[in-house]
């Protein structure tokens, strides 16, 4: 059972153990120091609990795969990362931020465009995916080109049609901005700005984007119940979809071919580009199905605008069509809509940082 904050108890326990190991067995600590040490431990525990509430998840979620030991969360680092995420200073001409393509109100996807839209009105080749529950992801991008959240950000920063810059220039621009010196000092202990710190701060903010507050989750926590139609849809889901879009994250983190024909204007063959293995031809990352109402259009190239079209695709595709009559499709959609997490989408902690509004024009 989750505790009050929804933090997994096990994780708190692990942190506590680590802290105890760190503080309680100092080499040759004199007896007199004991009470102070105890205070220190209690103090850090309180802080840890607060920090963990930035990253809380229900007990029916698996353990995250991100290694927090290598980049321990802190409130100041998360806030710095949030600022960087919303700041156009990251792009070559100061017009595009991460949020330009990953908007909070689209569950950090981008609904206006089927393909991404970067500096100088350039159009990319893929649909910007939604960003949430990234602490459980084992690969990033539609083809899994990136294996670690920390380093993923180098891709949009450097892509000529996205932000058109590079991490070296980003660091130089941030060094020229006195407000950031203070932000880095608060977060990292000194005002030195490095590539590593920029990337880890960005990762910290993105790690806090946990979506676990949908009706589905309330039902799992026995605080709500499915309607008959949603229940029917859930049964169909478990039969036909769950092997790839595995609950509770609604992805098994793998790659699959779901029967889409190649769009010959893009010729995107997916995973094979990275692995060069013929078996990976046309395999794409299996996306989560949470927040679909906010993340349209769908698929790697944004070819479907409506969920109805997605379901028709699964029922009508040439290879292995699923036996889903139109009422089954309607039931499935009813279930999929229980995965919308409005609390996540409208969470003020993830929104544009208001204090940035008062920043003078650069």
């Amino acid at each position: 059972m989750p505790n009050k904050q929804g933090v997994r108890r096990g994780s708190v326990r692990k942190w506590a153990e680590r802290l105890r190991a760190q503080f309680c067995s100092p080499p040759l600590g004199p007896e007199a120091l004991r009470p102070f040490l105890l205070l220190a431990v209690l103090g850090s525990l309180a802080m840890t609990a607060e920090r963990l509430s930035d990253f809380a998840y229900p007990d029916y979620f698996p353990a995250p795969t991100y290694n927090f030991d290598a980049n321990p969360l802190s409130g100041e680092k998360i806030q710095l990362g949030r600022r960087l995420f919303y700041d156009e200073i990251l792009s070559a001409d100061g017009t595009v931020s991460c949020a330009s393509c990953h908007s909070p109100y689209n569950a950090f996807a981008h609904t206006d465009h089927d393909l991404s839209h970067g500096i100088g009105d350039q159009i990319g080749t893929r649909n910007a995916p939604a960003l949430f529950n990234l602490a459980w992801s084992t690969s990033f991008h539609r083809d899994g080109a990136h294996h670690h959240l920390d380093l993923q950000a180098l891709a949009p920063i450097s892509h000529p049609a996205e932000m058109g810059s590079n991490i070296k220039d980003v660091v130089a621009r941030l060094r020229g901005d006195s407000l950031y010196a203070a932000g880095f000092a608060r977060a990292w202990g000194d005002p030195v700005i490095t590539g590593e710190r920029v990337l880890k701060s960005l990762a910290q903010f993105q790690l806090t984007l946990v979506s676990a507050g949908a009706k589905y989750d309330r039902v799992r926590e026995q605080k709500d119940t499915f309607s008959d139609q949603e229940q029917k849809g859930y049964a169909l889901f478990k039969t036909y979809c769950n092997s790839c879009h595995t609950e509770p994250l609604f992805t098994n983190q793998g790659f699959a071919k779901n029967g889409l024909e190649v769009d010959t204007t893009l010729n995107d063959f997916g995973r094979i580009v990275i692995t060069t293995l013929p078996a990976d031809n046309l395999l794409f990352k299996i996306p989560s199905l949470r927040n679909l109402s906010f993340t349209h259009p769908y698929m790697h190239d944004g070819r479907f605008r409506k969920l109805r079209q997605v379901l028709e695709h699964y029922a009508d595709r040439l290879n292995d069509p699923l036996p889903l009559a139109s009422n089954d499709q309607a039931d499935l959609i009813a279930f999929l809509l229980t995965l919308d997490d409005r609390a996540f989408v409208f969470d003020r902690r993830y929104a544009f940082p208001v204090e940035m509004r008062s920043v003078p024009e650069r």
């Binding site: 290694n67 180098l154 590539g195 990762a203 990275i274």
Partner: protein
């Protein structure tokens, strides 16, 4: 006793140690390599504009046992910055060694682990951005026989996953001295690589894996 030796050595090293410099010396055309990064168009001669590479876990060994390791786990060497091509290892006084060993490239465990600072900071321009992975070895320049635009060749050998992992273990026999010179024989590289056919390697695949094998042979 065999296991105790390195521990004892490390212990004594703090008492009386001696610095041994490992000195990497790239050679081309039989002479010390001169980096020419002026960007001048290719002339009749082959020109190297950039040569940068990572080394991990540099160690001196005696009969296979490590007797000294570098303070820094990873080194970025840049032929255009001579001070990076030479660094000290501290060896306990009186301890002999007969082998220098290192990994050419960033070891794959580190490469799989996230962002790092210092020599590994991505601002050093040795990290791929279109996919994840360090560039373990970068060699760029111009040569008249190279059919690419402006006669440029670019070898970016990297990648740490699956069959195309490009990290390579290197082991060299050495004899003790104040400086241990290690030649990097680029003539051998250009003997083996036909620049008229192979001039651009920028992703991990079987071609880059073959070049990674060849790179090992350059260190002498």
């Amino acid at each position: 006793m065999k296991h105790l030796l390195p521990i004892l050595c490390l212990f004594f090293s703090t008492l009386s140690a001696q610095e041994v410099f490992i000195d990497f010396q790239p050679v081309m055309g039989g002479k010390a390599l001169v980096i020419d990064d002026t960007g001048a168009a290719a002339g009749a001669e082959k020109v190297v504009e950039a040569m940068r590479f990572y080394l991990s876990d540099v160690a001196l060994r005696s009969e296979g046992q490590v007797v000294s390791t570098s303070d820094k786990r990873h080194h970025l060497l840049d032929a255009a910055q001579p001070e990076t091509m030479r660094f000290p290892l501290s060896v306990p006084a009186g301890v002999a060694y007969d082998e220098l060993s290192f990994t050419l490239g960033v070891d794959s465990l580190t490469a799989a682990s996230g962002a790092f600072g210092g020599d590994l900071d991505p601002t050093n321009g040795m990290y791929w951005t279109w996919r994840s992975g360090y560039i373990n070895f970068k060699l760029e320049g111009t040569a008249p026989e190279c059919p690419a635009r402006k006669n440029r060749f670019q070898f970016h050998v990297g990648g740490f996953q699956g069959p195309f992992n490009s990290e390579r273990a290197v082991s060299l026999g050495v004899s003790p001295g104040k400086t241990i010179p290690v030649k990097i024989d680029l003539d051998r590289f250009f003997d083996q690589i036909n620049l008229a056919a192979t001039y651009q390697i920028m992703s991990p695949d079987d071609r880059s894996a073959t070049i990674a094998d060849l790179l090992v042979e350059l260190f002498r």
